[in-house]
């Protein structure tokens, strides 16, 4: 059955319908015409042959008159039989129970006898030993001298073979079948040709539509002629053009929006730079100031710190969005790096570590620091001790898990935790973070990927998020709840081959 399906498969759909339509119509027409003509021809042939046989018999019967003895003797019956026999027939002469002749009595049906008993000549086609035969029968009448016509009691039957007629008829039938088959073949060929002329443009259209759907906004369909297909093609082209223009417009708008955010963030840096520069002085002096000035200074300082962090995070994010985020890779020992991160922020004693030495990886150390600091900071701030960080290695991957024993992540929080500006606990009056920490960590993780552009700018990553090429291994950051309570964030970084 599979081969049958494979054979039929290219004929599914429109082509099959066209073919069947043509074939059906043709076969129907051919059948009707050929069939009709066959039936007529057969009738004509048989009728002619029957008429000829009856006429012949009638002529022969005329020669047996005048009758000489009745009831007939066996001899006279034999004479009659001989008189009536020609080359093409077998004859049977019957009188009462006597019968003479080559024709077998079994060929004569009761119906035939009944009809000739009414004083008519009658004939019937029968099956005579497997071959078709015509049986003609009649009573022999005598005309009295007084002009009255009386049956003599003698019945005469003649059987004629219809083999020749059958041969002619079957020849006609063969021709009819042959014509039908030929017509069917021609119809199918015609159907295929027509289908191709229709399906060709349809296939072109489909190909163009698939390409359009895949993002090739320049795909167009050639327009041939001026029929409905050409109309469809023209409509498609117009639609594609309009779509391309809209998409270009949207891209422009998106690029403008991104640029605006980048510009704004960038512009914010300049005033902030001046403020930040003197913050240390302020912080140091705040304790020497009388209240409320001191408190005011502390507030300004804190606000400036927060604002700076926010602006820096925003700028990081715009770099990811614009594809200008670059990796500065270095081959480092991950355990040493993580310990340095903890040490730099004074977390060494606050975190349980499981960091086996010697696990090397080619990563961007600054970005790794950002990720680890964010995860551990979140764990310490929003989770509960003990906070742990664990480093493991798998073939092709390096895995860092940061876990805490806090309340964990609520079910509605979990899918959104990496969204920008998403803060799980909205009840917190003031959040220390900018709301971008996890989003940046996530982007930093994803920036580490194993394709041959890993060390270069991933400038064409715009819009590429959903379409990672198959075969790329991409770094990932996922959040989950531990079975025993608390949240666990798992960072997976792919190992990158050393360039030779």
């Amino acid at each position: 059955m599979k081969w049958l399906r494979a054979f039929v498969a290219p004929f599914r759909g429109l082509r099959l319908r066209l073919l069947l339509g043509f074939a059906g119509l043709c076969v129907l027409t051919a059948a009707l015409v050929a069939g009709g003509m066959y039936v007529l021809a057969r009738r004509e042939i048989l009728q002619q042959s029957q008429d000829a046989s009856v006429a012949s018999l009638t002529r022969q019967i005329a020669t047996i008159y005048p009758l000489r003895t009745l009831p007939p003797t066996k001899q006279s019956m034999t004479d009659i039989a001989d008189q009536l026999t020609t080359r093409g027939n077998d004859v049977r002469v019957e009188y009462q129970k006597m019968s003479v002749g080559d024709l077998s009595g079994s060929t004569i049906t009761a119906d035939l006898r009944e009809v000739i008993g009414n004083g008519h000549m009658a004939w019937q086609r029968v099956d005579y030993d497997g071959t078709p035969a015509l049986i003609v029968g009649t009573e022999i009448m005598v005309t009295e001298p007084g002009q009255s016509v009386r049956p003599s009691g003698v019945d005469v039957f003649a059987g004629y073979q219809l083999l020749a007629e059958e041969a002619s008829i079957s020849q006609i039938s063969d021709i009819a079948w042959g014509i039908g088959a030929l017509a069917l073949l021609l119809a199918m060929l015609l159907g295929i040709v027509v289908a191709r002329s229709v399906l060709g443009p349809v296939r072109e259209l489909r190909t163009a539509a698939v390409r359009l759907g895949a993002g090739e906004l320049s795909s167009r369909v050639p327009v041939h002629g001026s029929d409905e297909l050409a109309e469809v093609a023209r409509t498609f082209n117009n639609t594609a053009q309009s779509l391309a223009e809209h998409v270009a417009e949207l891209r422009r708008m998106e690029a403008d929006a991104r640029r605006f955010v980048a510009d704004v963030s960038h512009e914010l840096r300049t005033p902030l730079a001046a403020m930040i520069a003197v913050l240390d002085v302020l912080d140091d002096q705040a304790s020497h100031l009388p209240e409320p000035t001191g408190e005011a200074v502390r507030l300004v300082s804190q606000g400036t710190h927060n604002l700076t962090r926010l602006v820096n995070d925003l700028i990081e994010v715009t770099r990811f969005d614009s594809g200008t985020a670059a990796l500065a890779l270095d081959h480092i020992d991950l355990a040493v790096a993580i310990r340095a991160t903890l040490r730099a922020r004074g977390w060494t004693d606050a975190v349980d570590t499981d960091l086996p030495d010697g696990i090397m990886a080619r990563v961007d150390p600054r970005r790794l620091d950002v990720i680890v600091a964010n995860l551990v900071g979140n764990a310490l701030r929003h989770g509960a001790p003990p906070v742990s960080i664990r480093l493991t290695a798998e073939p092709g991957w390096r895995i860092i898990e940061v876990a805490d024993n806090g309340p964990g992540l609520a079910a509605d929080v979990l899918p959104q935790v990496f969204n920008r500006f998403y803060k799980a606990d909205t009840a917190r009056a003031r959040s220390e973070g900018s709301g971008l920490g996890l989003a940046i960590a996530w982007e930093n993780a994803r920036l580490h990927r194993t394709d041959d552009r890993v060390a270069a700018r991933a400038a064409d990553r715009v819009g590429d998020r959903a379409g990672d090429r198959a075969g790329d291994r991409v770094g990932s950051l996922v959040a989950a709840n531990r079975p025993g309570g608390g949240a666990v964030f798992t960072l997976r970084l792919p190992t990158v081959e050393e360039p030779s």
Partner: protein
């Protein structure tokens, strides 16, 4: 007490940094353009230059090159972003280190102190016990006490960071030092610093001491691990 030449065109940032650095104990000369900066340098020698790359007139890269061409002053550049063009360009032009705007005073202070230590000019941190004697490696002669490096008898003008890097590497000849280790020992940065600093400095160092910088004898790259002095 060290003298800082601050070249920054934005008034607020300039005032802010000048204030903070002064508060830290430095003497600060703040100018608003590259031309003024070069002129100030000619008139009053400074111990360290803090240079903003985005300057009107002569841009920061050019100023850096000119300063580096005539002196061995440590230069810390201030960039608006830390992506390739600015940082790499600045390092190639001869900067010893960089900070990213907006920069906290204490971060800048730490970098200034670190770079001054490399020159031995920081009074807050006297230099370590000087080794006496001149080491000879191939055509190089390294005087650790006098902080002079000669090649074929001719002294080579090395920027402080370049000198410090060479001293660090040659102190353990044949031993591979990773970039991170070098960042920590030479640049005194937290472990996770920018390894491009190391790469750029190595390039500049090779250009000055190697016979064939493309095939270095002294400062060799060990792929995937770091750098190594020799073996010759």
């Amino acid at each position: 007490m060290s003298t800082v030449l601050l070249i920054e065109d934005d008034k607020d940032i300039r005032d802010g940094l000048a204030l903070a650095l002064t508060w830290q104990g430095h003497t600060v000369h703040a100018v608003e353009s590259g031309e003024l900066g070069l002129a100030a340098l000619a008139a009053n020698p400074a111990d360290v230059v803090v240079l903003d790359l985005m300057l009107p007139g002569i841009d920061g890269f050019e100023v850096c090159r000119r300063i580096r061409a005539s002196t061995n002053l440590p230069i810390i550049m201030v960039t608006a972003r830390n992506d390739d063009i600015d940082v790499v360009g600045g390092l190639e032009a001869g900067a010893d280190d960089y900070v990213v705007k907006p920069v906290q005073a204490r971060v800048l202070e730490a970098r200034i102190r670190a770079v001054l230590r490399r020159t031995g000019a920081d009074p807050a941190h006297p230099t370590e016990t000087r080794k006496t004697g001149v080491e000879r490696h191939g055509t190089l002669a390294i005087d650790r006490a006098g902080l002079v490096v000669s090649r074929d008898g001719t002294p080579v003008g090395l920027a402080p960071t370049e000198l410090r890097l060479l001293l660090e590497l040659s102190a353990s000849p044949g031993q591979v030092l990773s970039r991170q280790q070098l960042l920590e020992s030479v640049w005194e940065q937290a472990y996770l610093g920018d390894s491009r600093l190391v790469d750029a400095c190595v390039q500049r160092l090779r250009a000055k001491i190697e016979d064939d910088p493309a095939n270095p004898r002294y400062v060799q790259t060990v792929r995937g691990f770091g750098y190594r002095f020799g073996p010759l």
